[in-house]
Subunit: 416 residues, 2 copies
């Protein structure tokens, strides 16, 4: 057929991510393992789901009184209210003064998309975004595609092997007035009270707009309140802000798009204006958010017994993560692996840095078929009783190998 | 507190829709009724859900082997494949030649959002969109917000009381080369073979890009194949096109965002390029589409017995719609309501025009508390054995009242 295609100028898009997983899948080695899953894994190597979720999912399916009609653009009111109380605490100023609200979004990408659209329209004079997190975040591209100038910074200091709060302070000092700070798990950074004070003073004087990312409240420390305590500092200092709150990971409902774009304003009137504008954007993006996940979560959060059960399950996950990290550190110590491995247990949450060089990571991937991202940040819940020995022995080998090759290099250099 | 709000310049957004429903909800009259629900209603006035959906929802909740991990950006492969086969038929050229594909989107708004983003980027030289449908469509705003020049046309000819295929032909003749035609339920327009030939020849010679809207395959005629037969004409003529396929209404899963942006290209290679670009947009919009609805639908479509049961439920709905329309017409005839009401039974599907003037609609809303949109297009499944008498009597009254007032006006005019 001689017809020219409408699509003849459309090239194949570059794959943005997932190449490590693809290589892993193609690998024929029976010992291969993947340590970069996004979701929390059980001791048996399955994606974790809070036990209470199974029960409620079944209850919902059995309920003949439920209807499945379209829900409002903003989402289920009860879901948003319950999630806000979880984020801030029932007695927070934000809740009591009725100046916090939210829009149910399709996952956290949806929350960033919606927030970015709002900021693009309503903060025209400042289209600069700083993304500061423990790692490279996918929402960087969302802001970039929308025409923002994006700068990305990582808390992780690969020389000192720690999350560095000073980085945050120096970035705030050099950032232009009125820009946006998208801040990932700052709670893990362990700022001192005086660092907090300094950081907030700089943000305030420069009118920097905070946009927090809360990807898994409760999975960092195992304590829901502890994980979002820092939000209260910003509330008490009179900040207005956005927050992407995802409830996928801490309930184990990864595939249902349960995110919320949270808005905190100075008063209820301002809040309603912002929410009304966000609804117009949401209407064009997806019109009605999906309900299954929201329905499950609301049923759990609104029932004290179920909520207690869920909190207990989170605590167990967090304790298990800490135990895995302790064991990894202990095994490396017993193997006599050179270096201190305290940085492993100093980090909270499922995903933490191993503190390996890119050469060491390459050794693990190529020689040992252990798939680790280039930056060495792995999901510790991928490590379990069945694979911990192979993994720690391989890390030991990688470290020794690179030391040998460095020494060899030094010898070679001195001979030249 | 003297702090100025970041949001001080953000006004309350205008409400775009839903005002009729709001007025209805505020109405205290016990006889009030709303005839404009988007979803198909049962004889008892509840949102319709295909009986087979309940069963599968329960089965899925009971299945311990399922995992709820993130699904790929493009969606569940099996869901997309089953939906494409439903749309085109298993033996369509598109399927056999592997040149049709799709991306799972959050509902049909998501499909238009995604399609519009693609066209914005890859058809830069022509940013004109014609939206041609039975009514004003919400996706007009999606294209408009993205900067397209949008023209909207309705198939409905309120003078002749019919859907007019000639309108389509004349719009195609005056439209500029290379523009986009978003075409709503054209299947209901009953074009003759020669009208089809003329329409497609004009589209082809002007390189107009078709973007079809299939909001509820099977609910127009009760026959799934019949409802999308026209797509095959475009395929056989070598057209490339997009199609928004929604599976919410024909399964009765309204709240789960089950849409697909379908792509038909001239060959597989071109298709893969287009899909890869769409995936990049989807990644920024919501990253992973929600799965509950997709999972239910796939289970039904991939099982011949369940698929048969579902088809039967669709047929029953379509038959019920036709029966309601026949009854409305018959009751108006018995009441001696002036005018021919054949146009009611000449239209297919849940939503059809009553063929009332704006004055008659106003009479129904204000005097009878029957909430009908201004254009008089109602959801016929909102009419049932309990309310049909009140509704038809009220229509009769409205027609007589406006005739009287018109006559009175004529008398007044002649006296002046």
């Amino acid at each position: 057929m001689s017809t020219l295609s409408v699509f003849m100028d459309v090239p194949l898009a570059q794959k943005l991510e997932g190449s490590l997983l693809k290589t892993y899948k193609k690998d024929d080695c029976p010992n291969k393992m993947f340590l970069a899953y996004k979701v929390c894994m059980t001791k048996k190597g399955q994606p974790w789901v809070s036990s209470v979720v199974h029960k409620i999912r079944l209850q919902i399916a059995e309920d003949p009184s439920l209807n499945y009609e379209y829900i409002p653009v903003m989402g289920m009111k009860s879901f948003i209210q319950a999630s806000l109380e979880l984020l801030f605490g029932k007695h927070s100023q934000v809740i009591v003064e009725n100046r916090g609200g939210g829009v149910h979004t399709v996952g956290d990408s949806g929350a960033f998309q919606l927030g970015a659209q709002f900021l693009k329209t309503w903060r025209r004079d400042s289209q600069v975004v700083y993304i500061i997190s423990s790692q490279k975040e996918p929402h960087g591209l969302i802001f970039q595609d929308m025409g923002f100038t994006v700068y990305e910074y990582s808390f992780w200091d690969s020389t000192q092997l720690c999350l560095d709060p000073n980085m945050l302070l120096s970035v705030a000092e050099q950032a232009p007035r009125g820009c946006v700070f998208v801040i990932g798990n700052i709670g893990n950074c362990k700022l001192t009270p005086s660092q907090w004070a300094k950081f907030m003073a700089t943000m305030k004087s420069k009118q920097i707009f905070p946009f927090f990312d809360i990807p898994y409240q409760g999975l960092s420390t195992g304590d829901l309140e502890e994980d979002t305590r820092f939000l209260e500092y910003f509330v008490s200092q009179g900040f207005e802000f956005f927050c992407s709150q995802s409830l996928s990971k801490n309930f184990g409902i990864y595939d249902e798009g349960v995110g919320i774009l949270v808005v905190v304003a100075l008063n209820n009137e301002l809040l309603l204006c912002v929410l009304s504008q966000l609804m117009n954007f949401a209407r064009a993006l997806w019109l009605n958010p999906p309900t299954t996940g929201a329905r499950i979560i609301t049923s759990i959060l609104c029932n004290p017994a179920l909520q207690g059960e869920w909190k207990q399950s989170l605590k167990e996950v967090a304790e298990n993560i800490m135990m895995i990290k302790e064991k990894v550190k202990e095994k490396l110590r017993l193997l006599g692996t050179p270096g201190s491995w305290d940085h492993i247990t100093h980090q909270n949450g499922t995903h933490s840095y191993l503190g390996l060089s890119s050469q060491q990571v390459e050794y693990l991937v190529k020689k040992k078929h252990i798939y680790v991202p280039k930056n060495g940040r792995i999901n510790f819940t991928c490590i379990n009783a069945y694979n911990i020995d192979y993994i720690t022995q391989s890390i030991n080998e990688a470290v020794l190998f690179t030391m040998d090759s460095e020494n060899l290099q030094k010898v070679n250099d001195s001979l030249e």
